[in-house]
């Protein structure tokens, strides 16, 4: 049942799973929503014929699929949230902070805009090249570096602003 190639593919995907989950979490900032994003992205990836072709590295292609899916969900969700906001003006508009990430640095990161979070996660945390980053975010390569610099400056400001703020919870 299933070919050797499929088994190998599944192993490769399995190896990338933790980083995909981290990327998803950096985007949606809530663990179950992040896993749902990863699941639907994997469905898209496994249904795609492009998975069989070994052109671009699997990692950047998967991240690109996930990011595209995230944008799509967010686009559709915006209208719904706007409707909710009109019905209940006091409704929560900010996403709950991730339980998995605590401390000043994580808080500062969570406060960044989603574009800044995405680019910092890829370049600083994952160590993607600027080329790969451009491919995932579907932006010109030349715009990666200015965006990285800007994101890091905002992150620095937020981190400094959070100095002296006690952590929300003790790590168990």
């Amino acid at each position: 049942m299933g070919s050797i190639d499929e088994r190998i593919q599944e192993e490769e995907l399995r190896a990338l799973l933790p980083r995909l989950r981290r990327f998803a979490l950096s985007l949606v900032r809530e663990p179950s929503a992040a896993d749902e994003l990863v699941r639907t992205s994997l469905e898209l990836a496994l249904s795609s014929r492009r998975l069989r072709k070994a052109t671009a590295p699997l990692r950047s292609w998967l991240f690109a699929v996930l990011y595209r899916r995230f944008l799509e969900v967010r686009r559709r969700g915006t209208r719904w949230r706007q409707l909710l906001a009109r019905l209940r003006p006091d409704a929560e508009t900010e996403q709950p902070l991730a339980e998995r990430w605590i401390g000043a640095s994580a808080l500062a990161f969570a406060r960044l805009s989603v574009e800044n979070r995405a680019i910092l996660l890829m370049v600083t945390v994952e160590g993607f090249s600027y080329q790969e980053t451009a491919r995932v975010l579907a932006i010109p390569v030349a715009s990666v570096l200015p965006r990285v610099l800007h994101a890091r400056q905002v992150y620095r400001q937020l981190s400094e602003g959070m100095q002296g703020v006690a952590p929300l919870r003790r790590v168990k």
């Binding site: 599944e10 896993d35 699941r39 469905e43 570096l145 890091r152």
Partner: protein
């Protein structure tokens, strides 16, 4: 020897290892010669390490079995099978419902009829035969009156003498819509050309055109409930020129 100062952007690119080797070496030299720039870089590096540490620990996250690629693939396949089964059931239901309505037209199956295909067939079968290409030949009978009598209606035969083709004779043929006739002509070089006519109710009057198939060329037109065609060798320039002259020459 101090290198050119590096911009902020270049420092970050250097930090990310995204500078090419030569510029990277230059930046390193610049940093060696500028403590303030080196301090700035160290600060950025510390921020980066802090962020990496804050977002680390992914291996310790509780695994989620519904994310396993093999599980997802199996689920996708099951979904696809169910979808295909539903579609098949629908097709069969429609098919079963349609059989009663279709059985009376079951005799008419097959590809759509191409215009004057039978003209091509008639030429292929009869036209090049040395004997019995035609069943009625001149000068025994007046061909037009024979044709009119056989087909039940008058026929205007093309005069191909100006094109160098002389009349040989005719053959009566059968079609599902009634009698058809193939009139054969021959040029001095032995090339033969046929004029084919038959009742044709399926084509709108005014339809016309030409086709080539297996070395034969047919020029056809439909008028007054009849189809007409001239058939000859596609590789004979004289034949092709003659064909082109019709039906305007009629």
């Amino acid at each position: 020897m101090s290198a050119a100062p590096a911009s902020d952007e270049e420092l970050h690119a250097f930090l990310d290892g995204q500078l090419d080797a030569s510029r990277s070496a230059e930046v390193r030299r610049y940093l060696d010669g500028s403590p303030t720039a080196a301090a700035r870089l160290t600060a950025w590096r510390r921020d980066a390490e802090g962020l990496r540490a804050a977002l680390a620990g992914i291996e310790t996250w509780p695994p989620n079995p519904s994310l396993d690629p093999a599980v997802i693939r199996r689920r996708l396949r099951r979904r696809a099978w169910r979808r295909a089964a539903r579609a098949l059931a629908l097709v069969m239901a429609l098919g079963l419902a349609g059989v009663v309505g279709w059985s009376s037209r079951a005799a008419y199956v097959g590809p759509a009829i191409k215009p004057m295909e039978d003209a091509l067939d008639a030429y292929r079968v009869f036209a090049r035969a040395r004997t019995h290409a035609v069943e009625i030949s001149l000068p025994r009978m007046s061909l037009p009156s024979w044709l009119a009598a056989s087909l039940g209606h008058p026929v205007a035969l093309p005069d191909l003498r100006a094109h160098g083709f002389r009349l040989l004779g005719a053959r009566l043929l059968a079609t599902s819509e009634g009698a058809a006739a193939m009139v054969l002509y021959e040029a001095d070089n032995g090339r033969r050309l046929s004029f084919y006519l038959r009742p044709a109710r399926h084509f709108i009057p005014g339809t016309q055109g030409w086709r080539e198939k297996e070395g034969l060329r047919v020029r056809y037109w439909y008028r007054g409930g009849f189809g007409f065609a001239l058939v000859g060798s596609a590789d004979d320039a004289h034949t092709v020129a003659t064909l082109r002259a019709f039906p305007s020459a009629l």
